[in-house]
Symmetry: C2
Subunit: 305 residues, 2 copies
């Protein structure tokens, strides 16, 4: 599988119309990464039967309440449910202080370590890397320091064609084949040509999460060619003035960024409470960028072949 994105909430400001605050769960090769954590995220995880303890990495974009007020409750529940595994937490300056102060007054010490990584919201750089992905910060243009996150799957291994594999191949040689190397004999001669018994690797996907931002083309080079872009679209173009004033985007602006960045698909979210019906937002985006969809909570979006 590639990247599976579960929308846990995609409303802005206040919960409304049965829509919850921003949060998304990424499943990459069975690993869970949580993006933002609005109030009630732990309840949404339960609602969608997702085991919170499987989350080892949480990325917070910024410190407006609708993006992080569910974090303290989620961390506390992880503690109460007996977590001992380390949790990596990424977010802007201040997040660690807010958590620490709340722990102080509740006289609580979590049973598990939190590795807090302070994200510099002014630059784009790798903030996390593991066997499967690298995560790159995306400086966003919002009222307060705010960072999006680009998930890039690493280059995957070549796939062995089992029926063609010679017997008794050593683990070392299997690894070499997966990495695209030929198998040589002691004299350095090719005895197994890689491309004859392997297939090319599966495609590596990328997903960009841009939570809260006004229209700003400076992110285009960073997210260029991403397979999927989530870009906030708080307003319709008819409220473009309000969007600019509040450092938010319209659906048309989100679609314009998607088009300029030549992404595969666009997900729209962070909907204003003024819109009960969301279809006009999708329609407006599609007029600019056909592959636009609403990030409706509960839905899964899958990047795979």
């Amino acid at each position: 599988m590639g990247i599976r994105i579960k929308i846990l909430g995609s409303n802005s400001a206040a919960p409304a119309h049965r829509r919850h605050h921003t949060s998304q769960l990424l499943n990459i090769e069975g690993k869970y990464y949580l993006m933002d954590c609005g109030e009630g995220t732990q309840l949404q995880l339960k609602r969608f039967h997702i085991k919170a303890q499987r989350i080892n990495h949480i990325f917070i974009s910024h410190l407006h309440g609708d993006h992080y007020l569910g974090l303290m409750g989620l961390l506390s529940t992880m503690h109460l449910m007996g977590r001992s595994k380390k949790l990596d937490l990424y977010g802007p300056r201040g997040l660690s202080e807010i958590i620490t102060m709340q722990l102080k007054y509740s006289e609580t010490v979590f049973n598990y370590p939190i590795n807090f990584v302070e994200v510099d919201t002014s630059v784009s750089k790798v903030v996390h890397e593991d066997d499967f992905v690298e995560v790159i910060s995306i400086p966003l243009n919002h009222r307060i320091p705010c960072s999006g996150y680009l998930f890039r799957e690493k280059k995957k291994n070549r796939r062995l064609i089992k029926d063609l594999l010679p017997p008794n191949l050593s683990i070392r040689n299997i690894t070499k084949l997966k990495h695209g190397e030929d198998i040589l004999n002691e004299d350095g001669e090719v005895v197994i040509k890689n491309e004859e018994i392997t297939m090319p690797p599966k495609k590596s996907f990328s997903y960009a999460f841009c939570s809260d931002t006004k229209y700003d083309e400076s992110i285009v080079p960073i997210i260029k060619g991403a397979d999927m872009l989530y870009h906030e679209s708080t307003f319709l173009e008819e409220h473009a003035d309000r969007a600019a004033r509040t450092f938010h985007s319209t659906a048309k602006e989100a679609a314009t960024i998607a088009k300029k960045a030549e992404v595969g698909k666009l997900l729209l979210g962070h909907f204003s409470i003024r819109y009960k019906e969301l279809q006009p937002l999708e329609d407006e985006a599609k007029a600019v960028f056909e592959e636009s969809q609403l990030a409706i909570e509960g839905e899964d979006f899958v990047l795979d072949l």
Copy 2:
């Protein structure tokens, strides 16, 4: 009407079995008072069609997350929905600092003033008073500083018997009658005897909210004779050791306090996530104190005649 108590949540620690964290709404003569504010309280208010802006007083018992993590979100939503009315907030030391820090990092200044009243959790005294009630703090015995709250309706006016009222009675004389005074003529002679044209006032009720506490009889004199007592009953007696260790109570202990304090009714709440079925908690309490009920969320408990 007297006092109407709406249970918004009554689970402890982590949300479970579709039960939410502690929060209760008191409606006293049409005025709303919120008791504790666990995560998702604003969603529960919506669910039960309660207008959050009507709340002018919020009382927080202590700074364990399951009792206050919904506060910041509720305050923010009040701001975003255009509140300008003052809000009175009562709680232990630290609460104001937590709010202030979160406002600082979100670079937000609320449109409405919050009057924060720091409650000394070590003494019982009047912390709030208005035309209808006085609210008295109840020092609880918990792992961290914690205060319950006793709501006492003030003495109500005598009720005029409309059919017996003489015509053209001045507002001043009506007020006198309501306050139990006779009407005198200029020579100081009684012309209208109060008890002949008024009925006694309606009963004034009292409600005690004891959110998190181990068994402690020192609260008995404070809550003596309350019409209704909410007393946490996190555990069954079979887990009494655990209750003592975590500074919580069993259903039997809650009922024992209710009995010693000679209250009218007992509400049980703050249920441990270990109990999916709650009936055994009620059964255990009833064996000691017959007028015991579970504080099930969504239910209303009314103190009236």
